[in-house]
């Protein structure tokens, strides 16, 4: 583990870590404010902003109408004129309605203007399936955003990471799309009370191993770690890498790991077709690590179906721990 946290640090949830990161920043920087739907007394769709309007008031915790195009654009316009807005979208699926402002405006403004102006904003939004919210409230669309030059894309997997990465995102002078996984909100971890920053573009080796590298994102980091613990009993040593940010992507850490293990599996919840796993696999195929590969690269991702409602179907639509275990066994069979 590259991130060692003292045992004595208190434990808080991922959700509390997000709130703490925002609140600490807002206490010291009056340019930072948050806007979004139902983020006021309601506390946000998932309760992330609970208590914030009481502390910061309605000017800096701006409860908005249900107008994703306007509120995303207002965030871009405010950022372009000197503020550092945090936009909360209730569900990451709703980025479809904010797409013009994120893709055609926020991402391109600086380049189109010949390097003048900047758009320091963070779009925070809950992503992923597992809550029974079905097809329009469960998607993982991060690869869309990763495709757009000008945006940065973050997918924290732990309470520790989410606090440090959000600090870095708020400090960044570019538009950052920050995906919070809904099922991770209630997970806990050791999180320092003071502010700290985890650089965007620095992967974390969540578990060291020698036989196979698993690159996993968001909730799949935990599934990969569970699989790795299981496989250890069979004498298979799995290295789990969490890129933490997919734009920028820490290619070096992944390449070095694959050179060591000679095997690569990429796991994400997003639909496999066109997912970021294809990008990571191609990056390895084009790199010096290719010559070190002892087995074909495997990609595990969501099936090409809308997320279904029924819990059994919902689980079956995305990779689960047994799928990862099976993929690892297959990959290391000629070891």
């Amino acid at each position: 583990m590259t991130t060692t946290i003292a045992e004595k640090t208190r434990e808080i949830t991922y959700l509390e870590a997000v709130r703490e990161a925002m609140s600490q920043e807002m206490r010291q920087n009056s340019d930072v404010f948050i806007l979004g739907e139902d983020i006021g007394v309601y506390g946000g769709a998932f309760g992330v902003t609970r208590g914030m309007i009481e502390e910061f008031g309605p000017e800096r915790v701006r409860n908005t109408p249900i107008s994703e195009a306007a509120i995303s654009g207002a965030a871009v316009g405010a950022a372009l004129t000197g503020m550092r807005p945090i936009l909360e979208l209730q569900f990451s699926d709703f980025i479809t309605i904010a797409m013009d402002q994120m893709v055609n405006q926020a991402a391109k403004t600086r380049y189109m203007f010949g390097g003048k102006g900047k758009v320091p904003m963070v779009l925070r939004t809950p992503a992923g399936s597992g809550t029974g919210a079905a097809a329009q409230h469960s998607q993982s669309l991060e690869a869309w955003m990763a495709h757009i030059p000008g945006l940065k894309v973050v997918q924290p997997s732990t309470a520790y990471d989410v606090k440090g990465l959000l600090k870095a995102a708020m400090d960044d002078d570019n538009p950052v799309v920050f995906y919070e996984h809904k099922l991770l909100y209630r997970t806990s971890g050791h999180v320092p009370e003071e502010q700290y920053s985890i650089p965007l573009g620095k992967a974390d080796v969540k578990r060291e191993g020698t036989d196979v590298t698993i690159v996993a994102t968001a909730i799949m980091v935990h599934k990969a770690l569970e699989a790795a613990a299981e496989l250890e009993k069979e004498g298979i040593s799995v290295e789990v890498i969490d890129p933490r940010t997919i734009v920028p992507l820490d290619e070096e850490t992944i390449i070095e790991s694959v050179k060591k293990t000679g095997r690569l599996i990429v796991v994400h919840e997003a639909v496999k077709r066109g997912g970021i796993g294809g990008e990571i696999a191609s990056m390895i195929a084009e790199s010096e690590a290719f010559d070190y590969l002892d087995a074909p690269i495997k990609r595990l991702g969501g099936l090409a179906v809308p997320i279904p409602y029924n819990p059994t179907l919902e689980k079956a639509a995305i990779p689960q721990v047994p799928d990862i275990i099976a993929a690892v066994r297959e990959t290391v069979k000629n070891k």
Binding site: A70, G73, T81, G82, F113, G117
Partner: protein, 327 residues
């Protein structure tokens, strides 16, 4: 007989003369661009505002320097009126390194952030939420600037328009929405694309004032926008002003204008905002015929100079291709 013009107090005689020249700068700039496109000397596309000089010049005339504007794809006039530099504009259209966007933006992305021009926009209605955000900054930081948000009749059917006007209204933001209704969204006549007679009528739906002005009448425009800007600055919130106008040229460079008649074009040409402004200035004794001619010639010379500047400017280096994607 000299009749005094009814004008906002900030508009001096000197300012009126500047405005007259500015209108010619806009017209000559776009006519020059039109010629270059016709000859194939500029690539890409462009949207000309010949005939719409008054809505740009008159609206921006009443602003303070610290105020901001958000422009549209038909934005050359807005940029010139917001203290724009015609050399940098022409160089940008030529794709040169000395252009406003270092040759990377072209006609649809000219911006001058330092002068408070937050940019033309290639997406119809795309700039409207940005104007709301800029006005939010003004309010939150007490910066005391107002944002003029330009858009066309076509954009008034975009969802971003409705969402943005509503948001600005509930937050009492210092923004003035200016719809330059030039009668067509590309080929779509406004009367076929909206059921209301006036786009300004839509203001009622958001609980804000709506006003219709003759978009070719500089005096009316200045008074109307001045009132709205003052109201916005005093915390009274947004206003929607519809300016009835007409683009003399086609939508973009490749437009055969099959959707309208020559008679209609001639009717609107007769309402020429520059001609009417000149008449008003001469009647009121602000300007003589000779002075008017001199100002017009000065504008022409400045545009010719802008062309020389653009032509003499270097192309951007290929090394700059990947610069400025991120701050």
């Amino acid at each position: 007989m000299v009749t005094k013009l009814n004008l906002p107090t900030s508009i001096t005689d000197e300012k009126l003369k500047d405005l007259y020249k500015e209108m010619w700068l806009i017209r000559y700039f776009d006519e020059k661009v039109d010629q270059f496109f016709a000859k194939g000397l500029i690539h890409g596309t462009t949207h000309l505002c010949v005939g719409q000089e008054a809505s740009a010049a008159g609206s921006i005339a009443v602003l303070e320097s610290r105020d901001k504007i958000v422009s549209t794809h038909r934005g050359h006039g807005h940029c010139i009126s917001k203290e724009g530099d015609v050399n940098k504009m022409m160089a940008e259209l030529f794709g040169r390194e000395t252009g406003y966007c270092k040759g990377k933006g072209g006609s649809m992305h000219i911006a001058d952030v330092e002068k408070g021009n937050l940019g033309a926009n290639g997406i119809v209605g795309g700039g409207i939420p940005l104007a709301v955000g800029a006005a939010l900054t003004s309010k939150m930081r007490n910066e005391d600037y107002v944002v003029l948000c330009f858009f066309g009749d076509g954009a008034s059917n975009e969802g971003s328009f409705h969402e943005s006007v509503n948001l600005a209204a509930i937050w009492d933001l210092p923004v003035v929405f200016i719809c330059e209704n030039n009668q067509y969204g590309m080929s779509g006549p406004v009367k076929d694309m909206t059921r209301v007679e006036h786009i300004a009528d839509r203001a009622k739906a958001y609980g804000i004032p709506g006003e219709i002005v003759d978009g070719c009448d500089m005096i009316d425009i200045m008074n109307s926008v001045d009132n709205a800007v003052r109201r916005a600055r005093e915390g009274g919130g947004p206003t929607l002003i519809e300016m009835k106008t007409y683009r003399w040229k086609g939508h973009s460079k490749s437009d055969a204008k099959k959707y309208r008649t020559r008679e209609e074009e001639n009717e609107w040409r007769a309402k020429d905002g520059i001609k009417r402004f000149k008449e008003a200035l001469i009647t009121s004794g602000v300007l003589t015929e000779e002075e008017a001619k001199a100002l017009q010639e000065e504008a022409n010379r400045e545009i010719e100079e802008a062309v020389r500047f653009a032509e003499a400017s270097p192309e951007p280096s290929i090394d700059t291709l990947e610069e400025d994607v991120y701050a």
